[in-house]
Subunit: 271 residues, 2 copies
């Protein structure tokens, strides 16, 4: 079972921390942070990291695609080209493999999901957010993430989520939609799925720090004014995001294969 | 007693909130937030607002110079030009008035202090921060502010402050230095002044919301995981910033008049 997830967003938005929470794997452990001047002309690199995970008895081969340097350089066009190019390359490779002799053992390296991190600073989506998402939303399943959500009081977060959804809509940006529940799903599942749907875009607080709250071991951020347990759904949509990925991993793959890849093939074949 | 303070930083960094805390005045109450597309080609406007304040029995005429739209548009050169142009205009005007007939009643509209807001997201200063501060640090007293400092745990904030100071130094950016205490100042004053010096750059948490903590009325941010009293010096450098402005307002004016303006005059007269 192959699953490829791409992580995109400006530096410092807690992407590495969140990936560590989701997959207990470290992005960029050996990353070198170049001095700011070098960033001016740096080409953005797309990096892959593979993990073998066992979840509910199923062996998953998860590939995490990292995009360090996204938006650091003043020329963001290069970042966009590198990312879009990477996504296209996976489609090209799949297309070749599909037309080849050994199609029974084809490896699916296509990007099944792109977590796009939105800064909690600002009045909603930035120019950069909009331009990037417009470029890739037809090529990959977009899952927008509001980063470092502990910047918001509850009412502010509610407004910010509404604003983001409206801006996505105004700009015609399609994000991944959770398919309707099968009619044979039980009430409990439906309710949980609806709660997940209603909390999109997920507003996450992540942490690599082990803490103890009320005798319970968890991960969190300890501030002088209080502690945030990232597993507390009142404080962070982390659990919702984790559940979403778990429940809908197959849907993400299906949409990639049956819709996004087919669009790509159609475009490619008509050229 | 005229004092002009300029406020610069990206939208959403809490500038309006902080100015409201410091001067109980609202920036941008009537500001219209243009839709993101319009920002692409918008010219940045520099806006002034005058307040009469009585502090410790002294009547202050405080002018707050606001720079809405800074860095919103993708072309930041325009923002820089508008701000630098404004600072120069005040110097030009003062120069004319100084050479005029009525110099006894000269009005000092020069910018005495520029609060520059740094985002708590990212690994330190951004390209934009560095480019902007390099352009104006020789023309105005720069007071860098780390915005929305509740994004940091104490250890993270300590590291971030060190990083910012190092980057300012690496890039040769001069920030306003508090002059040495007069030898006749008492021990208490010296200690307080030293605490203020040691906490630069000020990391502020601001709020326009009245809250009550332990029966005490204050302003703060109430989160589900805890409440931040902005007047608690463990939580925010707000009090230190306020005290700094109060204790060193005259120093800010003196440096503007005796150093920055003189540099400007020298440059101007040699052309
Ligand atoms: N306030 C806050 N800080 C966070 C959160 N997640 C991570 N951080 C901190 O933000 C900094 C950057 O995190 P990192 O994961 O390296 O960001 P990346 O550059 O996007 O990979 C670190 O100091 C983290 O501890 C969060 O949810 N809230
Ligand atoms: N987390 C946090 N949010 C703040 C702080 N100060 C202001 N805000 C919130 O940030 C948002 C933008 O604040 P505003 O003052 O309008 O920012 P401006 O665009 O820079 O003037 C509002 O929702 C404020 O309540 C702060 O210190 N910490």
């Amino acid at each position: 079972f192959d699953f490829t997830i791409m992580v995109v967003g400006e530096s410092g938005l807690g992407k590495s921390t969140l990936i560590n929470c989701l997959f207990l794997a470290d992005l960029y452990k050996d990353r070198v942070n170049p001095p700011v001047e070098q960033l001016l002309n740096r080409t953005m690199v797309v990096e892959k990291k593979q993990l073998d995970i066992i979840e509910k008895g199923i062996k998953l081969k998860v590939t995490i695609v990292d995009t360090p340097g996204f938006a650091d350089a003043l020329n963001t066009e290069n970042s966009f080209d590198a990312i879009e190019g990477f996504i296209d390359e996976q489609y090209d490779q799949y297309f070749k493999d599909e037309s080849g002799l050994n199609r029974k053992n084809i490896i699916d390296n296509r990007v099944h999901c792109c977590l796009y991190f939105i800064s909690p600073i600002g009045r909603g989506l930035s120019q950069l957010d909009i331009q990037f998402m417009k470029r890739i939303h037809q090529k990959v399943n977009l899952v927008p993430i509001i980063a470092k959500a502990d910047a918001f009081k509850p009412a502010e977060l509610h407004m910010f989520k509404k604003k983001v959804l409206k801006e996505l809509d105004d700009h015609g940006i399609s994000i991944f939609r959770i398919p309707e529940c099968d009619s044979d799903e039980d009430e409990d599942f439906r309710r949980k799925d609806k709660e997940i749907k209603d909390s999109i875009p997920f507003a996450v607080v992540g942490s690599t720090t082990q803490i103890e709250i009320n005798g319970r071991k968890t991960r969190g951020r300890v501030y002088p004014w209080g502690s945030i347990d990232i597993q507390d759904e009142q404080f962070s949509d982390y659990v919702k995001l984790k559940t979403f990925l778990s429940l809908h991993m197959q849907d993400l793959k299906d949409v990639t294969n049956e819709v996004l890849y087919e669009n790509y093939r159609a475009l490619y074949l008509t050229k």
